[in-house]
């Protein structure tokens, strides 16, 4: 079966006001872009998808991942990865520690080899023992991407993921992230302010009203 993230008739309310309604299917390798002013409910949509929506909101509708309903699944059992505009690397762990934290439990030697390979593939060889706070913005973004990929997610959410990077870095990082999403055939949903992000994603674009 083809991987997919399916949002069925979602209606998201704050108190009693309807914030947004979405009804979309995203297939593996596709990137759906959501645009709209702040306050239009973009981050609430992401929180609902990750399973961390504050109790002040309530919703109707369901979400299916690869055909299984995950609407009420606890956040940690959903296999939905998320990338924010900040890399949010754990500063009490090294770069390798951050990635190891995300990987499924397995033999230690295999994990270390896998981490080394992945770092090398992303042009970060030898960075495993570094402290994440001392990496450049672009390097941090790559480690965050590696961390989420090696957690073997079934879908990826992107929350303004490139908005803190400068122009050249932004294009390179964006290209890398989109390549990986297509390579792993992951359904992806991106929230962005930026039209160039939306065009580069090459998928459907939804614009929310304020």
């Amino acid at each position: 079966m083809q991987p997919s993230l399916q949002i069925n008739n979602l209606q998201l309310f704050r108190q009693h006001d309807l914030l947004l309604s979405v009804n979309e299917q995203i297939n593996g390798g596709e990137i759906l872009t959501i645009m709209g002013p702040s306050g239009s409910g973009k981050s609430s949509l992401l929180n609902w998808l990750t399973g961390s929506l504050p109790s002040a909101f309530h919703t109707t509708g369901e979400v299916y991942l690869n055909g299984n309903e995950i609407t009420n699944t606890p956040a940690h059992l959903r296999h939905v990865g998320v990338l924010y505009q900040d890399a949010l690397l754990f500063s009490h762990l090294s770069v390798a520690g951050n990635i190891a934290f995300a990987m499924p439990a397995s033999n230690k030697k295999q994990r270390l080899e896998k981490i080394d390979d992945a770092l090398e593939q992303f042009g970060l060889s030898g960075f495993g023992d570094r402290h994440p706070d001392n990496l450049s913005g672009g390097q941090q973004a790559r480690v965050a991407l590696l961390r989420v990929l090696l957690s073997e997610p079934k879908a990826i959410l992107l929350d303004e993921p490139f908005s803190k990077l400068d122009v050249q870095l932004r294009e390179d990082t964006r290209q890398l992230v989109f390549e990986q999403i297509r390579y792993h055939q992951l359904p992806a949903l991106m929230v962005s302010h930026d039209h160039s992000d939306a065009e580069a994603a090459g998928g459907k674009i939804i614009t929310l009203a304020g």
Binding site: S55, H76, R78, L88, R130, V148
Partner: protein
Amino acid sequence: MSQINSTVVTRNTEQALAQPTDWFTVLVKLSPKLLLLLLVVPVFGGLIGVILPAFGWAPVLNQYNIGLQAFTALWQTAGIGQMIMLSATTGFISTFVAFVITLMILAAFFNSVWLARIQQILSPILVIPHAAAAIAVGFLIAPSGMLARLISPWLTGWDFAPHGIFPHDPYGLSIIVGLTLKELPFLLLMALGALAQPELGKKLRQQHKVALNLGYCPMTAFFKVILPSLYPLLRLPLLAVLAYASSSVEMPLILGPNTPPTLAVAIMHWFNDVDLNLRLKASAGALLQLVVTGGILALWLLAEKAIRAFFSDSLTNGKREYGGAYFQKLTSVITLLVVIFISLALVGLVMWSVAGFWRFPALLPDTLTLLHWQSAVMQMGTPLINTLVIGAITTLLAIILTLLCLESEQMRGKKVSGFISFILYMPLLVPSIAFLFGLVLVQQLAQQSLAELSHQSSNVKTVYINYINVIITHLLFVLPYVFLSLSSSYRQLDQRFAIVAASLGAKPSKVFFKVKLPQLFSAILIAVALGLAISFGQYLPTLLAGGGRISTISTEAVTLANGASRRTSAVYALMQMLLPLLGFILAWLLPKFIYKSAQR
């Protein structure tokens, strides 16, 4: 019909899915109830245990005559009016003076590097227990103290120590000086803590700049722009300080008069009297203490309203200058005097602890000796171990409970209820002397019935029960501070880290232990150090809940302060200061070595 049935079924399965199943989630969800239980039962049990004997019903003493005899006896006590006045005036005046100096310092040095420097100089005073501070102040202002030595004989002509009234002066001036010096750093730190909140602090600093640009003198800008927003955040700490100052026993015991003493001290003497029937009068006195403290709190709130009404027009009268330069200088002088006074008190304490022979007007001891330290340390073993064990267990319990409660907040997505936060601060607002006796009576009653049940009361058991009682009682005072200290850091954690970790497949317990706790490592260590410091400093709770059988550094220090040699007393006071200081130094050092293993 079938439609309705099917929705019901789906709901049920959804709820079944949402039910917490792992032990961690269950524990977290239970924690706020456990917190309530640990705070409410002792305080309310204690209050009931005071109210009943006050009206004549005390099974422990075989007293069952319900009536007002205890209150009659209380009113007939010689000097009861003076006791009440002494408690009320020392509490109110010391808080007022400390608050005024706090405001002057804040106003004069707002947005200046000096504010941080003054904070650094004054904040170590926070961890000094009241008893130790009282001993140091007492030494300083005594007729043969450092102050008198500094001005003798060249100014005073004194060749021998004069007969002075300080400390123990009948007006309570010494108590006021001691309390003010302890309250000032606390209030200042509370204000700076409020200003350190990222959003509020930034907003207020910008508003202050706007006022300066509009031509307001910095001090005026503080009083007209900052204070109205800042004061509501200071109200609770101020009330706690007022409640404490009007009912504490350490300072008045060491610095106050004896004939008559403050109400709180008198109550303690009655309760510890060999004549057990005086306990009924003590209970009635404890209720009176509640009324006195309540009255002072009400007076403060009333004064607050009056001041607000009186000055509300002048906020917008456009006047930009009220002699700011003059007040700025005055504030500098007052701050300098406070710092000098505290330094002299500490230096004096250290010198007394190593002084051999020390003639009166001489500024320095004639001979130095380590003898007092040696003999004191030799006798200090048991109290020291008691202090450390009780402090460690109490703090550990407080930290675990606080962390679980804060986690339950995040799990439910909203702050703990107003009721819980009110209960949390209750031990700080209800005078401890008012409910501690009752608590001890309740504990004794429980102990008696336990002993009758098991038909044996070996001494070993009693000691353990005393330990548990002391720990439960310390927890009442440690929990609020640990909660206060941890909650802001916990609530300021970037939620997205937890979401990222969960999206990477981490269970709630893994997110808690592997992501949140390491991020909070230094905040937790600070809270541990604070919890230990509070526990180390407890005098009355240790004395009462321990049934006088458990000695700690604090109980020894207070006992020694009245009577024994100045030199031994100085050693104990210094030990009282060193212990919490060690905790804070460790809390500051450890994060530099742990969780920094990755290469920089």
